[in-house]
């Protein structure tokens, strides 16, 4: 059985933020909520690295462990999803998540957080597939359409990979072997005289 995973190859990510834009557009994510974002380490320094981060759909998800109302569940595909009707917006999952994936729309009076929102691996939610409720609450269900997450599918450098963990790791392993410890972008050392 397939276990869906994301992998971001930091050697290939060019910080274009197209994955962030695609996600927001595909699921009509409201202002202030970012299901995915690009993090750059050593920004502006030689050898800076960027990675695209969202919910990593952990096998042993800490958000699931700390949720006081147990609104999380893991699908047969290994995707961690939650029921927004059960969520009480307590924010515990945000504190538990090492990736900062859970987001809150901050809607309602007195600065209440509102229902938690996060990356669904484009798998919708517990509502009926392609129903109005599912699109309204969780966004589009691309997995049910036989498609993979849009962020990964449209990544121009194929830095962001999404799919069955075994297939993704096989592809990445081949890349690492092919690189043989070098940077994948051939010629950068020569062009910028980096030693």
């Amino acid at each position: 059985m397939a276990k869906m995973k994301f992998l971001c190859d930091e050697e290939r990510c060019i910080e274009c933020n197209a994955c962030v834009t695609a996600c927001k557009n595909e699921h009509e994510v409201p202002w202030g909520v970012n299901r995915r974002r690009v993090v750059t380490l050593d920004d502006g320094q030689p050898g800076e690295k960027s990675i695209s981060v969202a919910c990593m759909h952990c096998t042993d998800a800490p958000c699931q462990a700390v949720c006081p109302v147990d609104c999380f569940y893991t699908t047969e595909d290994g995707v961690v999803l939650h029921d927004k009707d059960m969520c009480i917006g307590c924010g515990y999952c945000f504190y538990a998540c090492p990736f900062g994936a859970p987001q809150y729309p901050q809607e309602g009076a007195f600065g209440s957080r509102g229902k938690m929102d996060k990356c669904t691996f484009c798998a919708g939610g517990p509502e009926e597939d392609h129903s109005h409720e599912e699109i309204e609450k969780y966004g589009r269900n691309r997995l049910a359409e036989g498609k993979l997450p849009l962020c990964a599918e449209m990544c121009s450098t194929k830095s962001l990979l999404a799919g069955d963990g075994d297939v993704v790791s096989e592809l990445f392993r081949n890349r690492v072997v092919r690189r043989q410890g070098r940077q994948e972008a051939w010629g950068w050392d020569t062009a910028y005289n980096v030693k």
């Binding site: 397939a2 147990d70 609104c71 595909d77 029921d83 036989g146 297939v167």
Partner: protein, 60 residues
């Protein structure tokens, strides 16, 4: 007459005091939300998505 009217009003007012007995009791670590159902099995979906991966996420 007033007595019957009182009984009718009392019955109607008490009928509003309904208590929903269909309560979901929380159990630690058990998901009791809506079930996520799919038209295809996990194996069928896996095969379709593996094919899709080969189409759109191969190395260039």
């Amino acid at each position: 007459m007033m007595k019957y009217l009182f009984i009718v009003l009392l019955t109607l007012s008490l009928s509003a005091c309904y208590e929903d007995s269909d309560v979901t009791l929380h159990q630690a670590g058990v998901y009791k939300g809506k079930l996520d159902t799919h038209s295809q099995t996990a194996e069928q979906r896996g095969a379709i998505l593996a094919k899709r991966f080969g189409q759109v996420q191969t190395d260039r």
